[in-house]
């Protein structure tokens, strides 16, 4: 694609991420995917929570909403319901999405609005300088776990599969082509799509979660002969989150469910023609 269309999505706000932060790669991949999809920036709403990763909307020329910690999904659903024509992206960190925001994920998935949710999973709290995140490996020593974490990590891929998402994939900036590709595919998927990105925190992240390690570990799902139309098989693979690093599409619903906004539009259409004018609403209370 031509760099003009590419740069069209880059804002003039200079990223304040640490040099080498994986999120640089993610925003690049998003520029590429958006350029490929080809919607103009003003027709895109890009919502995030709070965190290093959540700064990402500000680095694009889309309408951005850098909201509060953990609430990007509810806000994004309100936007999509208010204006279904928009392309709505949601992004944030592992903590934003699966710790404080974890309660919103299953409901966003089961409602199945056509959103693309990108989590930058660095297994750490970056912005607040290095505390445990829900995806931190058991035993990890951080400033809040001086003697090692006592908890098994959250499994974003398995959770979202169990929630019934129609599209679930993983990527890493260690493979920019693959990352841009899954993000583009997620955007094009009609319904809720989830992309977990292994995006290294070079300043506070675990040593095993850096680009070098990714390059070594990485296994393309395409290469391991996984059938992305089989949810149970995807769940079985996803259970290896943390030990293995599979990239690509875990699950793609061959027969995508109807989206929530589609059902809403039908309802508005059927009931719409019975609508009295708003000015006459009080007539509903005439006694009989």
């Amino acid at each position: 694609m031509s760099t003009t269309t590419f740069t069209r999505f880059r804002s003039d706000l200079k990223p304040i991420w640490c040099p080498g932060c994986g999120d640089f790669g993610v925003v690049q991949a998003i520029y590429r995917a958006l350029a490929a999809v080809g919607r103009p920036p003003h027709e895109i709403a890009f919502v995030s929570g709070i965190g290093c990763s959540s700064r990402i909307p500000g680095y694009t020329t889309a309408y951005g909403f850098n909201s509060v910690h953990g609430r990007a999904l509810p806000i994004a659903q309100g936007i999509k319901l208010a204006n279904p024509d928009l392309l709505v992206l949601v992004a944030g960190g592992d903590g934003d999405g699966f710790s404080i925001g974890g309660g919103h994920v299953p409901h966003a998935v089961r409602r199945n609005l056509d959103l693309t949710y990108i989590v930058m999973d660095n297994q750490i709290y970056g912005l607040t300088k290095g505390q445990l995140s829900p995806t931190s490996p058991r035993g990890l020593k951080t400033v809040t776990s001086a003697y090692g974490s006592l908890e098994d990590p959250v499994n974003p891929l398995l959770y979202v599969l169990a929630y019934g998402a129609g599209f679930v994939a993983q990527g890493t900036p260690a493979d920019m082509g693959g990352l841009a590709a899954v993000i583009e595919e997620a955007i094009r998927f009609p319904g809720f799509a989830f992309v977990n990105v292994q995006s290294p925190c070079v300043t506070f992240g675990p040593a095993e979660a850096q680009l070098r390690a990714h390059k070594a570990q990485m296994q393309r799902l395409a290469d391991v002969g996984h059938d992305p139309s089989d949810r149970l098989a995807a769940m079985a693979l996803a259970q290896r989150y943390g030990e293995a690093l599979h990239t690509g599409v875990f699950f793609r619903d061959p027969a995508p469910r109807p989206t929530y906004e589609a059902a809403v539009r039908d309802r508005q259409a059927t009931l719409g023609n019975q609508a009295p004018s708003r000015a006459r609403i009080l007539e509903a209370f005439a006694p009989r």
């Binding site: 909201s67 509810p74 309100g78 009080l282």
Partner: protein, 596 residues
């Protein structure tokens, strides 16, 4: 003949007390009476005790009224459970189920000499006439129609319409039960008849609704296109009404997973350019605190309704209280000011909700509507509202000129900056809860922070001159001044009229805008005041405290307040007004004493 009646009924869950009340008020409305129906239940979801009180009058009504004219006890245990909610007195006529075996001179209403006591074999009459005890409430409706002349035809007509779908037998059985009651009353007239005057040809067609209905209707009138919320007593009916209606207007309703998500979706919808609202009660308001703060700094319009109930915490979900004012005004962290409005009646809830949307859109701010359970759930006849007089305001969107060099948070003179929305080319910006520059870039500059805080507060100053959001009744120069808000405004209005009738010089200020505090309005109201009361249904007297923050109240102005679930009655207010009038009297006399 009497110009009004207050009727209270109580019984077990199955007795159909509430549906009897509904039949009565529907009939009253059809006949052009003014009426108020309040319901009260035990904590049990079903099968528990329940009660209702109906005040019906030929004149406009300001509140649910006090001592009962007519008390109906389906059984005494349940009746007594409602204690202060069904107050009986010397003028009360008592009807009760004679099968309770209680002798007329033994009714358990200690130490009250009742006007009249009528045991009636209600259950037996129901069985005989309709073949089922289910008809007990219909028998009672017949009795009430017969003894007190309350619109028999309208009642029966309503019942028939209601039961039609259940088939002819049911309708006829019901007819028999009703006329059994009617005949019993005609056969055994009251010693001192007390029949309701015929209604006056009412100037305007009446509506029948409760506060939650009116709130939802107001939202629709104001152009609301999105509702996101989570069920909670006593606000849920707002979501339920909109869940039936809003789709018709191209809107949508989302029952979210919790209050945070509900308000989050509202914030998103507002960001996307739609008028949006949520409704909840205390616990939900507490959860929404952070999201409300986001709307304040992102300057996004939205309406958040809090139908107050007993607190703190889960408190008493089914009873009314006015103890969430502090929270409505001050819950946010940081220097955040948001407008707070309160309706003072069922009808008022419509216009106040419309006004809330207007203020939200005009000033790009969340607006909180503080309703309360009393107004929200009581059914009332309402003189139809002339909606042609109501404005509907839309947010200021960027002009072509604005878009040439768009800055979302531009520091304008008014403090209001044109608000664009996704889809609008050239209006692209970054909304955020982080302090930002005029163009929406994150900043940690203390100087910019100060200017943005100043802007966000300054833009609301015009509200302090909105005298139309205040009502003053009574002589301008009255030395005694009352202030009352929300559902208590009704009791205060009634008390003021009673006081005036006694020749006491009293005025009343009813604010619909509670915050920001309109200092000038209060100053001019209190200028003549030497003694006064701020009347509130909260332990702390919260409005009185909030007023002290901004207004130099005259020494003699104090709070008359108490916890909820035990409404302050007009008579109580009148008492205190009398005392204050006498106190002033004494002072004046002292002043007139010759000094030796």
């Amino acid at each position: 003949m009497t110009s009004e009646l207050v009727i209270g009924m109580a019984g077990a869950g199955g007795d159909g007390i509430v549906s009897a009340g509904e039949s009565l008020i529907a009939a009253a409305a059809v006949e052009g009476y003014h009426a108020v129906l309040t319901k009260s239940f035990g904590s049990q979801i079903r099968g528990g005790e329940s009660s209702c009180r109906l005040r019906i009058s030929v004149d406009p009504i300001l509140n649910p009224g006090g001592i009962l004219d007519v008390a109906v006890a389906f059984n005494w245990d349940d009746f007594l459970r409602f204690g202060a909610e069904l107050p009986v007195g010397g003028r009360t006529i008592v009807l009760y189920e004679s099968a309770t075996g209680v002798a007329p001179d033994r009714v358990p209403l200690a130490g009250i000499v009742l006007a009249e006591v009528r045991p009636v074999p209600i259950g037996q009459m129901a069985r005989e006439a309709a073949g089922t005890e289910k008809a007990k409430n219909t028998v009672v409706l017949g009795l009430l129609a017969g003894w007190f002349g309350i619109a028999p035809d309208a009642i029966l007509g309503g019942l028939r319409r209601k039961l039609a779908k259940k088939g002819a037998e049911v309708v006829e059985a019901n007819d028999r039960a009703f006329s059994a009651g009617l005949r019993h009353a005609e056969g055994n007239p009251l010693a001192v008849p007390r029949r309701l005057e015929p209604s006056r040809p009412s100037t305007s067609a009446k509506l029948l609704a409760d506060g939650n209905d009116m709130c939802a209707a107001g939202a629709i009138f104001a152009g609301c296109e999105f509702f996101g919320g989570y069920p909670i007593t006593p606000s849920t009916e707002i979501m339920q009404f909109l869940g039936r209606e809003l789709w018709r207007y191209g809107g949508a309703v989302l029952q979210a997973e919790d209050e945070i998500a509900g308000l989050g979706a509202v914030v998103g919808a507002s960001f996307a350019g739609r008028k949006a609202m949520t409704a909840t009660s205390g616990p939900g308001m507490s959860l929404k605190t952070e999201m409300l703060g986001l709307a304040t700094i992102a300057e996004l319009p939205l309406v958040c309704v809090n139908v107050q109930r007993g607190g703190p915490s889960t408190g008493i979900p089914t009873k009314s209280e006015q103890a969430d004012l502090f929270q409505a005004v001050f819950s946010a962290h940081g220097d955040a000011v948001r407008p707070v409005l309160a309706p003072t009646s069922v009808a008022d809830t419509f216009t106040v909700t419309v006004e809330a949307f207007n203020i939200a859109e005009e000033y790009q701010t969340p607006v909180i509507v503080l309703s309360d359970q009393e107004i929200a759930q009581r059914k009332e006849t309402v003189d139809s509202i002339d909606t042609s007089r109501l404005r509907v305001v839309d947010r200021r969107r960027p002009t072509a000129a604005d878009l040439e060099d768009y800055a979302r948070f531009r520091l304008t003179e008014s403090g209001i900056s044109p608000l664009s929305q996704p889809g609008l080319e050239g209006g692209n910006y970054l909304a955020s809860g982080i302090e930002h520059t005029e163009r929406g870039a994150p900043t940690a500059s203390g100087e910019m922070h100060a200017r943005m805080n100043e802007k966000r507060l300054r833009k609301l100053d015009p509200l302090k001159d909105r005298e139309d959001l205040f009502e003053v009744e009574g002589p301008r120069d009255a030395p005694i001044g009352l202030v009352a808000w929300g559902s208590l405004a009704g009791a205060a209005r009634e008390a003021r009229l009673l006081a005036a009738a006694e020749g006491l010089k009293v005025k009343l200020l009813v604010p619909r805008l509670l915050y920001p505090v309109a200092e000038r309005v209060y100053d001019s109201f209190f200028r003549s005041v030497r003694s006064g009361l701020v009347i509130e249904q909260s332990h702390q007297g919260q409005l009185h405290r909030v007023l002290r923050m901004f207004v130099d109240l005259p020494r003699g102005v104090e709070a008359f307040s108490r916890s909820g679930a035990n409404p302050i009655r007009p008579e109580e207010i009148l008492d205190r007004v009398r005392q204050r009038a006498m106190a002033l009297q004494r002072v004046r006399e002292d002043e007139l004493q010759p000094q030796e």
